[in-house]
Subunit: 191 residues, 6 copies
Amino acid sequence: MTDVTDRPTALDLPMVDPLPADTQKYFDICQDRLGMVPNVLQAYAFDIDKLNAFTAMYNDIMLGPSGLSKLEREMIAVVVSSINKCFYCLTAHGAAVRALSGDPMLGEMLVMNWRVADLDTRQTAMLTFAENITIASAKTTEADRDALRQVGFSDRDIWDIASLVGFYNMTNRVASATDMRPNDGYHSQAR
Amino acid sequence: MTDVTDRPTALDLPMVDPLPADTQKYFDICQDRLGMVPNVLQAYAFDIDKLNAFTAMYNDIMLGPSGLSKLEREMIAVVVSSINKCFYCLTAHGAAVRALSGDPMLGEMLVMNWRVADLDTRQTAMLTFAENITIASAKTTEADRDALRQVGFSDRDIWDIASLVGFYNMTNRVASATDMRPNDGYHSQAR
Amino acid sequence: MTDVTDRPTALDLPMVDPLPADTQKYFDICQDRLGMVPNVLQAYAFDIDKLNAFTAMYNDIMLGPSGLSKLEREMIAVVVSSINKCFYCLTAHGAAVRALSGDPMLGEMLVMNWRVADLDTRQTAMLTFAENITIASAKTTEADRDALRQVGFSDRDIWDIASLVGFYNMTNRVASATDMRPNDGYHSQAR
Amino acid sequence: MTDVTDRPTALDLPMVDPLPADTQKYFDICQDRLGMVPNVLQAYAFDIDKLNAFTAMYNDIMLGPSGLSKLEREMIAVVVSSINKCFYCLTAHGAAVRALSGDPMLGEMLVMNWRVADLDTRQTAMLTFAENITIASAKTTEADRDALRQVGFSDRDIWDIASLVGFYNMTNRVASATDMRPNDGYHSQAR
Amino acid sequence: MTDVTDRPTALDLPMVDPLPADTQKYFDICQDRLGMVPNVLQAYAFDIDKLNAFTAMYNDIMLGPSGLSKLEREMIAVVVSSINKCFYCLTAHGAAVRALSGDPMLGEMLVMNWRVADLDTRQTAMLTFAENITIASAKTTEADRDALRQVGFSDRDIWDIASLVGFYNMTNRVASATDMRPNDGYHSQAR
Amino acid sequence: MTDVTDRPTALDLPMVDPLPADTQKYFDICQDRLGMVPNVLQAYAFDIDKLNAFTAMYNDIMLGPSGLSKLEREMIAVVVSSINKCFYCLTAHGAAVRALSGDPMLGEMLVMNWRVADLDTRQTAMLTFAENITIASAKTTEADRDALRQVGFSDRDIWDIASLVGFYNMTNRVASATDMRPNDGYHSQAR
């Protein structure tokens, strides 16, 4: 049975009840595999069109084919969220970095200050770009893209990095603007 | 016949060729109604899954049911893009504000400095929230949401405002990170 | 007959009435050549000494002999005003860039984000210096001046660039502090 | 005899030689009354038109009729220059505040951190406005002007404050961009 | 036996060897009670005078008599360190907040974004002051101190808050400047 | 006889009365040698343990053995305090730079904008590091430490620079948070 959070945000927007069969099935799979239905999904479930648009983009960006590993995508999520100080995203994606890397300290480092992590040239370039695009995207020039190409990223990879950075700059703002709360379960995961 | 931009971004990511029938039909409709296929769509068309995820979210946010008028949504798009100095989005959505409002100067004001526009209490609150969430989302508190409620926005409207602000903080970064260029046609629209 | 704006700023400072003959003649020439008396002149006309001091400096900086072309001076005006988000100056000098360059998109680019414009090395160096001096003048070192010399600017040109940047940092603040409004005519010029 | 500074800025722009009679007379008066020809005048004297435009504006703003006392104008000069960290202007106008107020510590406070000075409501409002216009002029609204009106400033005074803030935001940038150096004499004045 | 970290910072500054008897005894007590000798102590132990000065101030501020509870002092440590993004201090004092509060999520919230924590009026005022003093101490006015007095803090408490904020602004910079690394043990404490 | 300042801060925290013999003796020595008991000591003297902890650290950092000269330590004190705009520390340590260097203008330059001072490579690197650590310590990388090593600083010197920068970031905040006032005597020293 699905573990429903009473109110995943500060807004009074109850989930559609009952959920459409497809949505209920998706939530059941989440519950089964993750042990929870992530609150972001519960938050969007007041409007199934919005939920579907969000999950389609999330699944494409985080789970679709890419030259970036799943860990690298989660690393970008955490570094962007650290700059924006988004409690929801740091909690959920910090847990994912800990789990995917098998290195709990890496997760903590990316949450607190990514520059202390012992990263290779490729990941340093990737996170430097992510930081710059988050803070001052208008200052991007061809030199910034070339810095990524020089450590082996393809133009397709650059698109993916830009999309990830953009996506978490979106979710950080939606989560903080609505006071979205992460499921309690994340905190103790993969410590 | 579709007017194809040679390279809508600085990345070498050619469109799928030929486009799937559904996509071609969608582009033909754009060409027909707008006189152009917006370059953002051409940019995403190297990967149809990404294009579809983007257009689904865009259509929901900008065209779906909402307590915010279409003009108000475009106003948020421009104000967010002005803070982030996104050339693509300022050009495309600045044109939309000019067209929807029938007030070319309003479009210019929102591009240049929204505080000079003569807005009512509701729109001032909306754009103040949009500015705050763009610049420092982590500082949001219940008082910020209450400021919106006090001028008549519902919790559902607040979700929509947050989503719009988030969405353009995403697209601004994707556009600037890839040097996405707006179609020339926008510049002279609704002057 | 001169087209007098009712109140060019938010301050209640009516023009001297009647204007001295020299001032009236100057305004008539403006009306004749530009189709308007720029509101900044009307704003200063509550005190003829102030008006004369302003126009003397303006004319020297914008129209006097210099190694910088008139277009380049307007480009600096727009880039400085974009950083300071000055509605008056972006409107008036954005129109001037469009007119002098014959390239409406260049005007838009400089208003929105100068880094997207396709500039040569000289103009890139000039606008980089203008941006730096606007944002953090105290960090200027000899290396910054040498960067200008290396692309061909003389010491006299450097003075002129510094003066232009300084001048628009002044006018931006006077205009925004008083809510000065540009003449409507600028918006549609040279689109 | 005029005490000529070897090179008042980092730029190689020698004074017109000989100076026109009017300029020489003006410099002689400075030497006589101030014991120096301020380096800013020597710096501008490579071009007499520029010098005259600068001195006309300076004299109007600093010495012309105004609801602001000369000390208050110098206070604004120092506070603006402290934000911009302009060595020339802090030195010259810090000395002026010490001299005009007969309170050397007031000069130091305004150079270092104006909030520690024991100011009345009027001057606090004036310097708050000066700080805001210097840092973020585009955020000015009618409420900011009303805050000045409420402590007794007229609309004409508001213009003067805006002009002073603008003027020193100009000179700070010209001075720092050219590495202009203050005359040694200022340092020990009115301690 | 003491667990000695190979090199607690990026600097080549080995501990005095052998340690003076008093220092060795102090380290043994740490090992015994905490299960570790905090790396900050090992880092300072290249110079016993510096170590003693640091521990004397630390012990006074964190363990001495105060109107602030030990948890409140640790909360300030974490909030200051979050602003400065200090990996060492966030790790060590984040663990202390988790342990002292018995609320692991509170520790995470203060590390990530203190505004999401559910704090009472007193603690909100305390952390608001800590944030303001960390970011822009020169803007402090009597109103800021009064805001603390109004929620029940004495002048002595205000001194203590200021000292704590100051102290962690010191240690954050020493730790980040030298790449000081926290003992591994902190990460899993009190989860 | 000791010259006691009525209230060295805005807090009502009277000195222990009578002072312990050791403290009284220390204050007498200050009065004798400096002509004053620095207000910071009087401010801390409401609690002798805090006073002793502060003076122990101060004496170690400012007077203990180091590869940095006493002037260089004072230069760091002033540059850090200039960034933080701390009136107390700029006044006291600005006087120290003037006195130790025999160059009153150097003291003024460091208070106003250290980049205008004519410094050698070593001191420029030292103050650049001090500025960076003050503004954004979390961005420090090995390259920053290497820049110091390359101009001749040892790892021990780097520790000392970091400690000095940290210490004045502490005292600036304590002083500004409590409105600590410097003794009047500093202002006219070594002019």
